[in-house]
Symmetry: C2
Subunit: 206 residues, 2 copies
Amino acid sequence: MNSEAVSKKIYIEIVKKIRKMIDEDGLKPGDKIPSERELSERLQVGRSSVREALRAIELLGLIETRRGEGTFLRDARGNQMVQLLSTFILQDQKAVKDLKDTIQFIEMDCLRVILQRNNDEGIHHYRQTVEMLDDVSDDEFFLKMVELTDNHLLYRIWVVLNDFYRSLDLKKETSSKPAYLAVLDALMNGEEKEVIEKYKKLRKLL
Amino acid sequence: MNSEAVSKKIYIEIVKKIRKMIDEDGLKPGDKIPSERELSERLQVGRSSVREALRAIELLGLIETRRGEGTFLRDARGNQMVQLLSTFILQDQKAVKDLKDTIQFIEMDCLRVILQRNNDEGIHHYRQTVEMLDDVSDDEFFLKMVELTDNHLLYRIWVVLNDFYRSLDLKKETSSKPAYLAVLDALMNGEEKEVIEKYKKLRKLL
DNA sequence: ATCCGCAAGTGGTCTGACCACGCTGTATAT
DNA sequence: ATATACAGCGTGGTCAGACCACTTGCGGAT
């Protein structure tokens, strides 16, 4: 029963098998995955090991467990991760500044990518959307912006950090529509310096 | 936020208590933390719950478990996280490109920060170090660079992503010393455009 | 003094049990 | 016939105890 060479932790293997299972069964966000007991039986491992694996996947924000109902796939958004990060990483004021800085670095990176891609139609379409809406929050504006960048990893990082930042109850500054439009216009104009300038104005960094 | 919420999972609470314990006892990297059985008894919870908490902390790269020895604090570097990320996020080639891009975005952000800080002495000192060493790897060069940025969060993210990227066995390109020096010189010169240009040359992006 | 082996301690895993909660089908009341 | 209440079942959450695998260190044998 115990083949050698398997000194690795079981739960890591289980994570991989569950991932494979999700792939093969073509499960999508919202779908239910097998119960802990069924996984335990199908994979021939103890339920506690299955739970350790699920905990890890949950930490990555990929599943959600609901007592009495089951375990479900979710559209990856950091959740537990945020809680734990806040427990460990947020120990001094410097950390908050680092967090804020990092979020803004990513946002500027996104702007640069969008600028370089030179996708005027996409930007124009987005500008129209913004113009129509009555109130736009910074979150919405940049979420869309980061999505436009089409870098899933960067998107994930930004979402986690932004959720985290919002979870601290600092004053949430919201900018005005003209500030958003100014950034978008600068993007269409095509001057990096101007884009960054408008961005910093929006974020009140000047 | 701090309301009852009795429905919270025990293991989250345990994580917080362990963190507090580490603080109060003044434990440092390398130190041993109490055994699972002792934690279980001291916190009056089941050992399996303690294990789920330790798994979470391990995922964050903050502890290391050694069978037969115990559990030890470590100098936070993403480890298990990397393995799990690779299991889940690395599903297509696009993901690899996103990863590479993201690493490079962060590196450029660091360069911009260093540039703005205008810390000539620090850069000069670093330049001397590089000049003396016989061979410098990209990893070493940028690790130092990200450290210089003095943003612990950004540092952590970079380390995780970079470890991850290195763990895929793609060809590891190493640049020549002149390329490093060119970036450093550009930093001292103070022109952002030139810094980015030298960086891209180093990364062979031109 | 050196070496070896065994006991103790630790993490890794499994099993079985019980609780808390959500859902659903059925029996009951209207 | 319809609406409501409730009990049973399946699920995740937690606990206790038992082994196993591995490391260390102590004590006895040489």
